[in-house]
């Protein structure tokens, strides 16, 4: 890069470090000389490297700093000297030497050393008796090895000293050895020129301040160039949870197609959740291992008697026109049990019960949380999102159902859909919808549909009107879109994941 262009684009931090780079090559000393914090100096060096001014190399170095004992010895006397001086002034035994001011553990750690160096002798009488040698007496006149060592300014790189020495001193808690990352620089040809250049003369506009605008400074001065390609720190905006984004998009599809939203409670009596949907009272889905029951209040109230009777009669023996019913005795006590709704179809049942003939044709949809009593693992959750829609239309038929389904799934992003026979307790005929996944090149199951059985519709609506119904496997679409494999991730609420998750746009 052209040196003038580089100079024009220098950030104030860069300008602060460049003049010291001629003398200083190591980050710490560069920072010190430039009077910057190390992080800031590091940033400047990184930028300069990007501009091909210098090369950074980072290596791990062992750095020696003084430990507690080391610091103390540096200030006062070292134990070796105290020991030898005590011996030359008459001390003989351990006890004498401890009195002279050396703690016993320290004493023990230097006896061997001093003997090895032949500065003392040890004889064993009743107890150990120490004596100073001639060499020892002489040694006292000069700095002892430890004293010489302590004269250095610390921290120091470990490479400056003998390895064994360092090991011994570390053992004696005189020093500690730390691993440091040392960053050093070498200047490139461009860098060598740059450090010689006169940066003082450069007067450029940094920030566009009020004054710059008011005084029109920009007319005379240059703007400092930025490196626009450099990374900047990330910011995080607020956003909706990605599942809610998907739900909103599904809602828009229903609304586009002319459906009205249904709302309702999560806790419902079994009457609404099961009986009104012609689910036999001994159906396995009603068992404890599938459905959450409420402990307290364990029971709710049934709706108006006329409706309850109609449902009961349909279960017990049908209505003579459309059905034989289940041929069993219906039990009110089963119907009043409170459950967490197992499907949003409960809302469809409640809606049908409210509808008048004059309201028809009508279309409704719901998106909501449903519950099943399951232990949590990667593919099972006790809460799940369901969406479903119903078309209540005296003229509706099975071909219309398939027509609505094609359109709905097309809007959900699946161009191709196919239909297979299926079974659901409250629809007949029932349909399983497969959609084609263009990337994986396979069909996959995406939901159920059907026409509500007359046994469901007649008691609720008072008349057998075709009710088309469908509910896609919604969580599955979400997982597929966001490429999530573990269903628990929908509720992980990991702030980083939420901040970085792509936005739903379908």
């Amino acid at each position: 890069m052209n040196i003038d262009k580089v100079i024009a684009g220098l950030h104030p931090l860069e300008r602060a470090v460049i003049p010291v780079l001629k003398e200083h090559k190591e980050l710490r000393s560069i920072a010190k000389a430039a009077q910057l914090q190390e992080v800031k100096a590091m940033r400047a060096l990184q930028w300069l490297e990007n501009k091909d001014v210098l090369k950074r190399t980072t290596e791990v170095q062992k750095i020696i700093t003084l430990d507690k004992d080391g610091k103390q010895y540096k200030k006062g006397q070292i134990p070796e000297r105290i020991f030898l001086e005590a011996l030359s002034t008459g001390a003989k035994t351990k006890e004498d030497i401890i009195k002279a001011g050396i703690a016993e553990p320290v004493l023990n750690s230097i006896i061997g050393l001093l003997r090895q160096e032949k500065l003392i002798t040890i004889t064993k009488e009743k107890e150990l008796v120490f004596a100073i040698t001639d060499k020892g007496t002489k040694a006292l006149n000069n700095p002892l090895p430890l004293e010489t060592f302590l004269q250095h300014d610390f921290p120091q790189p470990a490479t400056a000293f003998d390895k064994q020495l360092i090991k011994d001193y570390a053992k004696r808690r005189i020093i500690t050895i730390e691993q440091h990352r040392i960053t050093t620089i070498t200047l490139t040809a461009l860098g060598k020129k740059l450090v010689e250049a006169n940066l003082e003369d450069l007067d450029v506009i940094e920030a566009i301040t009020k004054d710059v605008i008011k005084n029109e400074t920009w007319k005379e001065k240059q703007f400092r160039n930025y490196d626009v390609t450099i990374n900047v720190p990330a910011i995080h905006g607020g956003k909706r949870h990605f599942v809610k984004q998907a739900i909103d998009s599904a809602k828009r599809i229903w609304l586009d197609m002319g459906f009205e939203e249904m709302e309702g409670t999560i806790v419902n009596t079994s009457f609404w959740n099961f009986d009104a949907l012609f689910t036999a009272q001994d159906h396995p889905v009603r068992e404890m291992q599938d459905t959450f029951y409420v402990e307290d209040p364990v029971h709710g109230k049934l709706p108006n008697l006329k409706l309850v009777r109609a449902v009961q009669e349909m279960h017990e023996h049908g209505d003579e026109i459309s059905s034989k019913g289940w041929q069993y005795q219906w039990d009110k006590n089963e119907a009043i049990k409170n459950v967490l709704r197992t499907h949003t179809t409960v809302l469809s049942a409640q809606t049908l019960a409210r509808l008048k003939q004059t309201d028809l044709p009508a279309k409704f949809f719901a998106v909501g949380k449903c519950f099943r009593n399951e232990a949590v693992d990667w593919s099972h959750l006790f809460e799940f999102n369901q969406t479903e829609g119903i078309v209540v239309d005296p003229n509706a038929n099975f071909r219309h159902l398939l027509g609505y389904l094609k359109l709905f799934f097309k809007k959900m992003g699946f161009e191709r859909a196919r239909f297979r026979p299926a079974y659901f307790p409250y629809t007949e005929p029932s349909v399983e919808i497969d959609v084609f996944h263009p990337v994986h090149n396979t069909w996959f199951e995406l939901g159920g549909a059907g026409i509500f059985r007359p046994e469901v519709v007649v008691p609720l609506l008072g008349k057998d009107v075709p009710v088309l119904a469908w509910g896609p496997g919604f969580d599955r679409i979400i997982l597929e879109y966001y490429k999530i494999n573990d269903i628990r991730d929908l509720y992980r609420n990991d702030v980083k994941q939420l901040r970085e998750m792509k936005t739903w746009s379908r």
């Binding site: 809610k244 809602k251 402990e295 209040p297 297979r420 990991d494």
Partner: protein, 560 residues
């Protein structure tokens, strides 16, 4: 859902022609069964609960060969009289119904015995609702002596050798010692007497719904003639099961014989294998399906599904358990017609889409809050009592006057949750949000989070549970304080055009003197402030948290 394993060879033999892989794959799924896999000779098919008659290889082949047009129409099952009878004692009130048959001239193989046992087990699981509604026993005819009595007895007074045992034990020990005991004990928990099948020689044939006798209830390779009993709580149900067995055995080459069932007050002859004639409303079916089938076309389709048709009546096979009315014919006709052959149609019906007021409110609030840089969470409705109360320093015990005055913080417990951490419904939003915060300590601050959802308490509703939508707000960074949360509340209420009055209050989760409540039209709808360090420490949070909980019910009538 139950599955049936088929041998491709056997199926081809039963159907009477070679079946290509593609054809099998396509036709099995279009018949209304779910193909799980085909591997070499093995075909695994999931059978929907409305068609238990297809749980045997014979039953599946019967339906399949009709469907592909090889052998359509009603199968006739001839029944001869055996001359034997069953005496039903009036003591079997706990399981009062039974139906029986004899099948002769069967050829057993190991494979076939396994098939029979599988059908027995699968049918008892589905159609028999795990033996609660009905269960079934099969015996070599030569081992039992007629007439047989179906009666209830005190199990302490009888002994027999249960299946898989080599010596007699007291019937009262079955529930504890036999492998089926613990599995079905819940069915018999209120019984003092148990139902038994006992033959003319006073041999126990079976103790229901647990086990057959090893002496009389064991089908062997040399067994040619068998006796079948079905017992249960509904006549309809036990007879259907019997018919499914008889159809299966007949398809295996057996001859069916009937018996008289002598109830205390009436006598029946089972099995009744004749098809049931039912009305056929073609106009209704055409209307529902959007087709215009002629009677002849409809008849052809009915025959593909194994029905007969005669003089305007559909003849429903005795083994079909799922035909309640016209709509069931409609579905079978649709299947025979082929879902793939329907022309889809989108009717022009003028209806207007409408979002619910609650959804509009929540969408608006989310819009306002995300504009403030807040991140929306999705937390569970299910929680645990400790998190909802003690972890938040909220006291649930009502020992003193002061606690009594407080709002009922009792959480709604679930009766049967399998999960230890999630056994109640949340009563407020903040505990879940704070838990989220505690899992995100390693991520960048500030963290500004919110979630909206249903919270639960007791109330005067249809279920006795009142559900309100609450908004939980959390702001955490190294200088988070009352101002932070108050600003959000002020901004939100302004945006929603709602006036609230702020008053000082106390709440165990918040720092005293730094906790406020928002009042709208005389009702407290918001509580907010700085979370108490005691709670922060409990959740191992290192930075201060400003938080708020708002009841959105007051905002329902938004800015009008």
């Amino acid at each position: 859902m139950p599955t049936v394993n088929l041998s491709k060879k056997v199926l081809e033999k039963l159907v009477g022609k070679k079946l290509s892989l593609d054809m099998l794959k396509d036709r099995i799924s279009m018949l209304g069964t779910d193909l799980e896999h085909i591997k070499d000779d093995e075909i695994k098919v999931e059978v929907f609960p409305n068609r238990p008659d297809m749980l045997s290889e014979q039953g599946f082949a019967r339906a399949f060969s009709s469907f592909i047009g090889v052998k359509t129409g009603l199968r006739e099952y001839k029944v001869k009289k055996s001359g034997h009878h069953i005496i039903v004692d009036n003591s079997v009130t706990m399981r009062p119904y039974t139906a029986c048959a004899i099948v002769k001239n069967l050829t057993m193989t190991d494979e076939r015995i396994r098939e029979i046992m599988q059908m027995q087990e699968k049918l008892a699981t589905t159609h028999g609702r795990g033996r609660k509604k009905s269960c079934y026993g099969i015996y070599p005819v030569d081992k039992v002596h007629f007439p047989i009595t179906y009666t209830a007895k005190d199990p302490a007074t009888l002994s027999f050798t249960p299946l898989g045992f080599d010596q007699k034990i007291k019937a009262s020990e079955i529930v504890e010692t036999h492998p089926t005991g613990p599995k079905y004990a819940h069915i018999s928990q209120d019984w003092k007497k148990y139902p038994f099948y006992i033959d003319a020689h006073h041999n126990v044939m079976s103790m229901l719904p647990f086990t057959n006798s090893n002496d009389t209830g064991r089908v062997e390779l040399d067994t040619k003639n068998i006796f079948i009993e079905c017992t249960g709580t509904e006549q309809h149900n036990v007879e259907l099961a019997l018919h499914m067995f008889c159809a299966m055995f007949s398809d295996m080459g057996g001859d069916i014989y009937s018996l008289e069932i002598r109830y205390p007050d009436n006598t029946l002859t089972t099995p009744r294998m004749d098809a049931t004639p039912m009305d056929f409303d073609l106009k209704y079916i055409n209307r529902i399906l959007g087709l215009s089938l002629s009677e002849k076309e409809a008849t052809t389709l009915l025959k593909k599904m194994g029905y007969g048709y005669k003089k305007g009546k559909v003849l429903v096979p005795a083994y079909r358990a799922d035909i309640l009315g016209q709509i069931d014919f409609a579905e079978d006709i649709a299947i025979a017609y082929g879902y793939e052959h329907f022309t889809e149609e989108l009717p022009q019906v003028a209806t207007i889409g409408k979002e619910s007021p609650q959804a509009i409110l929540e969408r608006t609030i989310a819009h306002v809050l995300t504009g403030l840089g807040m991140l929306e969470l999705q937390t569970y409705h299910l929680s645990n009592t400790a998190l909802q109360t003690s972890d938040m320093s909220v006291n649930t015990t009502k020992t003193n006057q002061d606690a009594k005055k407080k709002t009922k913080s009792a959480v709604i417990e679930l009766a049967n949750s399998v999960s230890e951490d999630y056994h109640c419904l949340r009563s407020w939003m903040l505990p879940g949000l704070i838990e989220v915060l505690s899992h995100n300590k390693h991520h960048e601050y500030p963290q500004k989070l919110f979630d909206m959802g249903k919270v639960f308490k007791k109330g005067k509703t249809e279920t006795g549970v009142e559900e309100d939508t609450h908004l939980g707000l959390i702001i955490s960074h190294d200088k988070a304080d009352y101002t932070d949360i108050r600003q959000v509340i002020d901004y939100l209420t302004t945006a929603l055009n709602k006036e609230i009055t702020i008053e000082e209050t106390t709440h165990p989760s918040f720092v005293p003197g730094r906790c406020a409540q928002g009042i709208h039209k005389g009702k407290v709808i918001a509580t907010f402030g700085e979370l108490h360090p005691e709670i922060l420490a409990r959740f191992k949070l290192e930075l201060p948290v400003a938080a708020g909980e708002i009841d959105l019910s007051a905002f329902q009538t938004i800015s009008q």
